[in-house]
């Protein structure tokens, strides 16, 4: 077995290891998603989802190709490994995979446009916090889901100031 040196690329996730910090990113994968779904040349958006926008099941809406919709969601979910800022929006969009309509597809396109504008963002792990302690944050949004009236809970855990675990859950 030969030594290939420091880890730099693994399953679509690019890793950069430097003296003071480590970065984890999926820029190439994000570009691939945008190309695959014909959004390579789209205009960038500032939000992944309009603040206050509430998606509902939209029973009377015009249905779209469910397979295509699920495909986009699947790709976006893999991207969440390095993009916790998208966790909530992708999670909301993935609630409508059973019967997606034009409204849901537009929400997904908004995410892709946001992705286009923030494609270079990456997770950074620094050595800022010298004290290696585990700190957690937990928050919830009451009745955020219009369909089931259930709440969305979120949590984030930091070890020595760097994010290690996060979750957004209904």
């Amino acid at each position: 077995m030969s030594d290939l040196g420091l880890l730099s690329y693994h399953l679509g996730i690019e890793v950069g290891q430097y003296k003071d910090f480590t970065i984890v990113k999926q820029t190439c994968y994000a570009k691939k998603i945008l190309e695959q779904f014909g959004m390579g040349q789209c205009n960038a958006a500032k939000f992944p989802m309009e603040p206050g926008a509430r998606l509902h099941s939209d029973n009377d809406g015009q249905p779209v190709d469910a397979t295509q919709y699920r495909k986009v969601i699947g790709c976006l979910r893999y991207l969440l490994h390095t993009r916790p800022d998208l966790a909530y929006t992708v999670r909301v969009a993935s609630r409508f995979m059973e019967k997606p309509t034009l409204m849901h597809m537009q929400a997904v396109k908004q995410i892709l446009r946001y992705l286009k504008g923030t494609i270079d963002l990456r997770l950074v792990y620094t050595q800022e916090g010298l004290k290696e302690e585990l700190v957690g944050y937990s928050d919830s949004d009451v009745g955020g889901d219009l369909v089931s009236r259930r709440s969305t809970g979120g949590m984030a855990f930091y070890l020595g100031g760097s994010l290690i675990t996060w979750c957004s859950q209904k």
Binding site: F47, Y137, V142, T165, Q169
Partner: protein, 118 residues
């Protein structure tokens, strides 16, 4: 369902994860057991996690959600108050406005270092 109750349930879920992470860290690093700090932005939920006085009014809550109080008593978890503006889990529960999105993104450790030589 009140927001207090809701925060309480979210915190219980976070507690389970916290204990798991704590044990994992004990296993893979040479360190002593530490108290995990858990930040919640709801005062009444914190009060509920810390003492039993409230119990009469919130009895209907399922017993499993009172798991967190046991953990607090055992000294495994320390619940602390954090202001909503510094609540780092905020971005995971709602769609944020532009200014807040940038702040929260930074707090989560998602940063733009594109100037960096790759």
């Amino acid at each position: 369902m009140s927001s207090c109750e809701d925060e309480f349930m979210a915190a219980t879920f976070a507690t389970k994860q916290a204990l798991w992470l704590r044990n994992l860290l004990l296993e893979i690093t040479p360190r002593k057991p530490q108290v995990v700090e858990l930040y919640v932005d709801n005062n009444s939920a914190i009060a509920l996690m810390k003492n039993l006085v409230f119990h009469g009014k919130s009895k209907h809550k399922d017993i499993k959600y009172h798991f967190i109080r046991k953990c607090v008593e055992a000294g495994q978890i320390a619940v602390k108050k954090v202001h909503t503006d510094e609540q780092k889990a905020d971005a995971l529960t709602k769609a944020l406005t532009l200014g807040k999105l940038a702040v929260m993104r930074h707090l989560l450790g998602v940063r733009d270092l594109s100037g960096l030589q790759d």
